[in-house]
């Protein structure tokens, strides 16, 4: 009999086979000298503690507060993002999509999990899941509703499938009632999902 309580077998848990295979591969690669375990730790530390959606939130807050920066961000996103010190792997060729009262943008990678690492970090599990990838392009409004994002009927929904080398960041609309906030306070309103386009930013 299996002695583990059922709660250890949640549907979203990775398959034990997958975990075992990853462990086996890792120890083999380390043993053969192809992977440096210290480098692996440094990579994990980078995306756990240094690079994440707070970077993107700073970009968005700056764009809300500084019209000249917003212009640069929309015309050459990679360069404008690099101005704030964010660049590199999986953010080499960036495009920023601006939400307006008429247009809502939402990003997916139907083929795998392409995602703008320097500004958002590594993708959440749901972004990589087959249901999100399949449904985002086919029924984006239904997906948005499930994220709690209800848009007026007359808003045009544009879905961006990052199938190649370009990585996309959504510039959400600045919430109302934020005129008195500084950039640091504005950045607090910018959530990861609002920069993927599956949510709206927080209200103050």
């Amino acid at each position: 009999m299996n002695e583990l309580p059922m709660s250890h077998h949640k549907h979203n848990d990775p398959l034990p086979e997958t975990v075992l295979r990853v462990k086996a591969l890792e120890s083999l690669l380390v043993e053969k000298g192809l992977v440096d375990p210290a480098a692996l730790d440094a990579l994990i530390d980078t995306y756990e503690t240094k690079v994440g959606p707070r970077n993107g939130a700073r970009v968005v807050a700056r764009a809300w507060a500084d019209p000249a920066y917003r212009e640069r961000l929309l015309s050459d996103a990679s360069a404008a993002i690099a101005e704030l010190g964010f660049s590199g792997r999986q953010g080499e060729d960036m495009v920023v999509l601006e939400n307006t009262p008429q247009v809502h943008n939402m990003v997916v990678c139907t083929l795998c999990s392409c995602y703008p690492w320097p500004v958002l970090g590594l993708p959440p599990v749901w972004y990589k899941s087959a249901p999100y990838r399949a449904r985002a392009v086919a029924e984006p409004r239904a997906v948005l509703e499930e994220f709690g994002c209800s848009l007026p009927e007359d808003v045009e929904v544009r879905v961006w499938d990052s199938t190649a080398e370009v990585r996309y960041l959504v510039l959400p609309m600045r919430p109302r009632g934020t005129d008195a906030l500084n950039q640091a306070q504005l950045a607090e309103l910018v959530t990861r999902d609002s920069m993927i386009g599956t949510a709206l930013p927080r209200s103050p």
Binding site: D36, E92, E165
Partner: protein, 116 residues
């Protein structure tokens, strides 16, 4: 390939590895032009999603020239132009599509043919 050492991680991540190439290839398609995504089914790696194959779209923007992903998967560097192509939701999903909605897909030039 050299083994990545912990000391180099930050520099390697910061530097990145853009797939953009400087080759001045002419553009076969213009922004605003109507195109067809080809109905192709390569047995090897490709970056054309099945749901656009055989569908008609409009070139939204020209991203420039990049390493063609399908060739790169074979270890070759082949420069090719990359476009963002807009497909209406109804073109992709028929009556189940959402009126006014659209999907923008990044497609390499050899995935496309002129539709006019």
């Amino acid at each position: 390939m050299p083994v990545l050492k912990a000391d180099n991680v930050a520099a390697v991540l910061r530097k990145g590895a853009s797939a953009r190439l400087a080759d001045p290839l002419p553009a076969r398609f213009a922004v605003g032009q109507t195109v067809h995504a080809l109905n192709i089914n390569p047995p090897t790696h490709t970056r054309i999603p099945r749901y656009v194959r055989g569908r008609r779209g409009v070139v939204h923007s020209d991203h420039g020239v990049f390493t063609f992903a399908d060739a790169h998967a074979r270890g070759e560097t082949v420069p090719e132009r990359l476009y963002s192509v807009r497909f209406s939701s109804e073109e992709l999903w028929g009556p189940q599509g959402s009126p006014g909605g659209s999907v923008y897909v990044d497609l390499f030039e050899s995935y496309l043919a002129s539709a006019t």
